[in-house]
Amino acid sequence: MNKIIVARDLSKTLGSVKAVNSVSLDVNEGDFLVIQGSSGSGKTTLLSLLSGLDKADAGEIKFGSEDITSMNEDDLALFRRKNVGIVFQSYNLIPTLNVLENIALPLFPEGGSKEKMFERAKAAAESVGLGHRLDHYPNELSGGEQQRVGLARALINNPKVIFADEPTGNLDTETGQKVMNLFKSLNKEKGMTIVMVTHDDGLAKEADRLIKIKDGVVINE
């Protein structure tokens, strides 16, 4: 199996807390990897390092052939745009943009034909079952629908890896399961690599690979 992410000895200190302490892990192409840990275990920090949202204090991350630990902020932004999709617990949609525009947001800085941009966004919306709500605004959507917009936005640039930070954390069990099923089908049917962070044991069971983290250290693999 191809290794898509190779992380070695990652450390990150937040304030006085070592949120991530010398963590090494590999992500293989097609993995459905779940990083599980209790609140404050450093799992979200680890995710932010792997996805290029934040920079590690020490250690190295190779994403494909690229060393993302040596990139500056702008390079990282471009890296994220090209290679990863991120789904957040609190959806992080822009309230003044409708569903279609929110999904197309990562395409805006590239410019290009508006029609093509929205064509892609529409396709992404349809792939998560939101084809009928394109012109709605985030505050008109349910939590589950908002999270599906978040997922469609993450998919828009055909990323190599989808990172998800407690994607069902704000949803009830049933809606959460539906969103989870979407992630699973993406992984199984399209072979999308997914790295998900959760504290939920139920979700952890869905994983192909499970990594448990406590106090910034991996405790099993």
Partner: protein, 540 residues
């Protein structure tokens, strides 16, 4: 080399190709064509361009070098380019420079404008405040400036009708007691012999003279102006005739409309001036026509007789029958300076032991007023209002700067989370900066347009108002010590306020306000871009 066969006699690179390259380099601000090389062995159409295709979307911005000729570079932008049709361009249109042409790239970026417009319309209330602040600043700056200019213009209005280029007056003493006909101290008698001498000066086109008197009778005060009805001054006054006729004899007099109304004077009535009876032959209205307006107008001869017979006046200064006290000289436009300097040598300097007039001027000294001297005299009066407007403008600008920065930062910093999201999904600092710059520019331009529209309304309304202008006393035909009527001390003339929209200034305001908001935005962008995506997302 494509199309090489078309050219039978290759021209070598010459001035034309240098010029083409020069122009291309100017047009190519994006440095898509970053190297233009001249190959002296090739024809112009085969000039080799090294084109750097800036891969705008790609992560690593790879640099491709593709060699195409100038001709093919431009031809491919044409719809259904012949080059493409004939297979001269092997690659499809999208991979070639057309995609990266600055113009096309610019249009591609238009979506950012859409996004900014979206922001503006969805958060109307917030941006409305910014727009209103900008609008207010523009209104205040433009209106204040127009006011300043208008006040200056207004101050000149009373002198617009002085057609003579040069006016000669002479300082004199105030009579001991005020009875009978006297001359005001700014209009002391001038020897009549001076007039033919002035006439000999080269550049003098016409001379008009008058004798202006204050006549203190037992129960009334009158200003009496003696003029020659056939010269330019007399004609001007005569043109204001609204009733009756011009004086036919030395015992006829005209009376100013306002004065006639005030004192209930009618045509053919008898008016007694310092013991001499005059018949009112006509009524004139000189409002707005002359600086030197009077209550009563008589023949120059008659006023000279009044002055000659006034013991009070003769005691102050010897008055001959042909003396006057104001001379208007119409000089050749190009020779005003020369005529003025000749006049200065012509008029006698005051006696070395001369005293001073009540206003501190040297008795007997001649005053030669030219258009420039009027202007400087007036502008010194308005200097204060000028400075006031400058200070006000500065206060407005500084206040506006603070309010603008505050309201702009408020709207932008409220969106920290949004910018965090944008960063998270791959906006670079420059993408965010461009986004907020476009938003700010839109706000600024909308605010500016609102401001200009409001200024036009304000200026239009102000232009309908009237302005009263006090004439400096030394140019005033009223006695400064005559206090029975306070209005007479500072004579006031009323004009339509000459306020105008100053187009050039409004352009300056636009530039200033653009610079201001761009500065603000660049500081804010720096701050926003200093925030890390992750930090912003945690901030909730």
């Amino acid at each position: 080399m494509e199309g090489a066969g078309d050219i039978s006699r290759p021209r070598t690179a010459n001035a034309t190709s240098h010029f083409i390259i020069f122009i291309l380099n100017i047009l190519d601000s994006h440095h898509n064509i970053y190297k233009l090389r001249l190959n002296p062995n090739k024809s112009i159409s085969q000039l080799t361009l090294s084109i750097r295709l800036k891969d705008y979307c790609a992560y690593q911005e790879p640099t491709h070098h593709n060699k195409v000729t100038i001709k093919s570079y431009f031809l491919q932008f044409l719809p259904g380019s012949a080059l493409r049709k004939h297979g001269h361009l092997s690659k499809p249109k999208s991979t070639y420079a057309s995609m990266y042409h600055p113009m096309i790239k610019w249009i591609k970026e238009l979506y950012m404008v859409n996004y900014a417009l979206n922001e503006l319309t969805k958060r109307k209330r917030k941006y409305l405040l910014n727009i209103m602040v900008i609008g207010l600043v523009v209104v205040l700056l433009i209106t204040l400036n127009s006011l300043g200019v208008a006040f200056k213009e207004a101050s000149k209005l009373p002198f617009e009708n002085i057609h003579s280029s040069i006016i000669i007056q002479r300082n004199g003493n105030v009579p001991e007691n005020t009875s009978g006909a006297v001359t005001p101290c700014s209009l002391a008698p001038i020897k009549g012999e001076l007039i033919p001498q002035i006439g000999k000066i080269q550049g003098v086109k016409e001379i008009a003279s008058g004798l202006f008197l204050w006549v203190f009778d037992k129960d009334s005060f009158k200003r009496v102006l003696g003029v020659n009805w056939s010269d330019s001054r007399g004609k001007r006054i005569g043109s204001g005739l609204i009733e009756g006729s011009l004086p036919q004899s030395d015992s006829d007099a005209l009376v100013e409309k306002a004065y006639a109304q005030q004192h209930g004077l009618k045509l053919n009535q008898t008016l007694r001036l310092s013991g001499t009876d005059f018949t009112l032959s006509g009524i004139v209205d000189t409002t707005g026509k002359d600086i030197l307006s009077s209550d009563v107008y008589v023949n120059l001869n008659s006023s000279q007789s009044l002055a000659y017979n006034s013991r009070n006046l003769q005691e102050t200064e010897k008055f001959n029958k042909n003396d006057v006290n104001i001379i208007f000289i119409d000089a050749d436009q190009t020779m005003v300076k020369e005529v003025t300097s000749r006049l200065k040598t012509l008029v006698n300097p005051p006696a070395p032991n001369a005293g001073k007039t009540p206003t501190g001027q040297i008795t007997g000294a001649y005053n030669i007023y030219t258009p420039e001297s009027f202007e400087s005299q007036i502008s010194s009066l308005f200097l204060i209002s000028d400075k006031l407007i400058l200070v006000l403008s500065l206060v407005v600008l500084v206040g506006a700067l603070l309010v603008l920065i505050k309201s702009m930062s408020h709207t932008l910093l409220e969106r920290r989370k949004e910018f965090g999201i944008m960063k998270a999904v791959g906006f670079r600092s420059r993408d965010i900066r461009r986004e907020i710059t476009i938003e700010t520019l839109l706000q600024t331009i909308i605010g500016y347009c609102v401001g200009v529209a409001l200024s036009l309304v304000a200026i239009f309304a102000l232009a309908k108002t009237t302005v009263s202008i006090a004439i400096p006393w030394e140019m005033s035909p009223y006695p400064h010590f005559h206090t029975s009527n306070p209005n007479l001390i500072a004579p006031v003339q009323t004009y339509l306020f000459p306020i105008k929209f100053e187009a050039m200034y409004s352009v300056e305001v636009l530039i200033a306000i653009l610079v201001l908001s761009l500065l603000t935005v660049s500081v804010l962008a720096r701050y926003i871009n200093g925030l890390k995506a992750m930090e912003v997302l945690r901030y909730e």
